[in-house]
């Protein structure tokens, strides 16, 4: 059995990517299973999705804690201790990372022993689809890595996207982008990671309710988290065009636009999530969007 885990941010398409891979494998006659993990989901928050592929009926369910292949759809997740995308990766495993950087540099920077493949699929999606929706592309990358066929991938993308959209043009562009990623990557022989970390069964100790009730007694128990690294685009102001109408300040859902001494708005880039609502709402078209690449 091959176990693939996808990491992305809400809205990037990790769930559909896991489905594209699952369906492609299913179409080739494998047993397949796919599954997203989301709770209180929201756009931009880290999410994970899983695909299992096997020649025999699959007797495993739930999260994959020791994957053979990991697909990281957003490089910034590598720095996020809660998303922890590389957890459970063995030396024989393989990580695909969506980044502008080269595999060797990524291996060094994040101290990864396993095999690494990289490709800037955000750029490919912007070029072909015009927006950073990565589901078909990450699904295409994963399909190549686990050695599925191009024809299965094509059919899988068609099926999965037909569930979401009736726009034929959009489906065709997604197929094109998906196949592009498929062809840009080598297929790799992956050894299934069969090791299982063991932890002994223990006897639960009793603890009084001042400890064992589900309450939190400490104030400010969540570490301060900056959300600026979620951005794919960054809003940039043109003060020549800005009329100081303050619409952008009002509309920013994260309250991160402030006003400088001359009365012009500017964004707190440490927290701006790059949703571009400000740019859409600006009546003077004074805010433009710039692609953000993750520079070290």
């Amino acid at each position: 059995m091959l176990k693939v885990r996808f990491h992305g941010r809400g809205g990037q398409g990790a769930k559909i990517a896991s489905r594209v891979l699952g369906t492609a494998a299913f179409l080739e006659g494998y047993y397949a299973q796919d599954f997203p993990l989301y709770g209180a989901e929201r756009r931009g928050a880290p999410i994970a999705a899983f695909t299992r592929i096997s020649k025999e009926p699959i007797l495993e369910r739930g999260v994959i804690s020791e994957p053979d292949v990991i697909v990281v759809m957003d490089e910034t997740l590598l720095d996020d201790p809660l998303a922890n995308p590389l957890s459970g990766l063995g030396k024989e495993g393989l990580v695909f990372i969506n980044t502008t950087h080269k595999a060797e540099d990524i291996k060094k920077r994040y101290r990864i022993d396993a095999n690494v493949l990289t490709l800037d699929i955000t750029k490919i999606s912007l070029d072909i689809l015009g927006k950073p929706i990565l589901s078909a592309l990450a699904g295409g990358a994963a399909s190549k890595i686990v050695r599925l066929k191009e024809t299965s991938l094509k059919e899988a993308v068609t099926r999965e996207l037909s569930d979401i959209t009736h726009e034929k043009g959009l489906i065709e562009k997604n197929i094109e982008a998906s196949i592009y990623c498929f062809n840009a990557l080598p297929s790799v022989l992956i050894k299934s990671n069969a090791s299982h970390k063991k932890s002994d069964v223990i006897t639960m100790p009793f603890e009084a309710a001042d400890i064992s009730s589900p309450s939190v007694t400490i104030p400010a128990n969540t570490p301060l988290k900056k959300t600026g690294n979620w951005r794919i685009f960054k809003p940039v102001w043109d003060y020549e065009l800005c009329t100081k109408c303050m619409t952008c300040v009002m509309r920013c859902p994260d309250g991160c636009i402030r006003v400088n001494e001359e009365g012009f708005p500017y964004s707190d880039y440490e927290n701006c999530k790059g949703c571009m609502i400000c740019a859409e709402e600006c009546p003077a078209k004074a805010i433009r969007k710039e692609r953000e690449v993750h520079a070290w």
Binding site: R19, G22, T23, F26, Y31, A32, Q33, D34, F35, P36, L37, G39, I58, L59, E60, R61, G62, V63, S65, H196, K197, K198, S199, D200, V201, I202, T203, M204, D210, I211, P214, S215, V216, T217, I218, N221
Partner: protein
Amino acid sequence: MLGKMTKQMLTGNASIAWGVRLSDVDYIPAYPVTPQTEIIESLSKWIREGQMDAGFVTMDSEHSMITAAGAASATGVRVFTATSSQGLMYGFEMLYTVSGWRVPFVMANVSRGLSSPITLEPDHNDILAARDTGFLQIHCETCQEALDSILIAYRLAEDKSVLLPAIVNMDGFYLSFTREPVEIPNKEIVREFLPPYKPTHAFFRASQPMAQGVAVLGGHIYSYFKYQMHMANNNALSIYKEVSEEFKETFGRGYGTVEGYMLDDAEYVLIMSNSFSAMGKAAVKRAREKGLRIGLLRLRLLRPFPEEDIREALKGRKASAVIDQNISVGKGGILYSEIAGVLYNEKQRPLLLSFIGGLGGKNISDAEFDFIFDAMMNAYSTGNVPQPALLYTEAELEEMERLKRVAGKG
């Protein structure tokens, strides 16, 4: 006569929705709750797009929803509804009420642990709280089984010697949001298997008024009606066997009241239910590779409780262990007690061990399964049965310690 069938990747929720679509349901009262909502979303979409011809009403709560389901069913139409966890609890009063009306609608429950603390992941305290209500209960391991069980549930519930509502249960997340290949039966063949519902006991119309669920004063009257329900529920045991036999002939997939896995020559038996049984099967398979004679018994029909089939399956075994994915606080595993009751009068009965596992969706690791297998073999060789225990690992307790520190309790 397998007919033309198509297989595709479906989630558990989509599988349930397909089962309902194929069952020619007339009316669906609905109220959303995670992780069930996808079921009613799919159904409402199909109704809107004209692929299904049914009334769909969103209600103000599960209490109203279950009342509406019962009332609609009492007019003689086929009804479906779905809920989960807190939602089931909120409608709880009406479960007893509508089953007393003897109305055979089908409800899906997508299991999710009960608050507090609040969670989204599965265990069976929600569905097992409903075990005494009069509803029939079918518990599923796979998405295919969830779809098929909707068809079987209608046949069973609508049978003249049963006429009680039924719940089809599946685990949240592990089935509800998990896709796997599912065969969608052909609609014409489903129609032959499940003909239209034509009741002769509850069919009120505007022109044909009738009183339902009347008030009774006097225990002998109340007892009569209650015990009739109990007998009707028990009738479903033999009817179930006929229906599932016919289902197998028609669709090629058979489902017993219980399922045995590597059971024939097993000396030790693991007893589980629902989707985690798959992990139990994997553990049994590994144990077999090591030469241990272990098998698994999966409970599928929970109400009526298939006592005879369970006794039969456990006959001659050395020891058996129940993993309860539920906890009756202050008592322990619910199914353990039920199985113990089944075995008590047997002269030669296996030792019976009790474990609580998978609460709130907690993973059951290989090490935990091995722990159970060792405990069964050890109990048999020493004659000492260990105290009921929780499956919990050292690593999990360490993680708990960390969280306690975060919460200011360490």
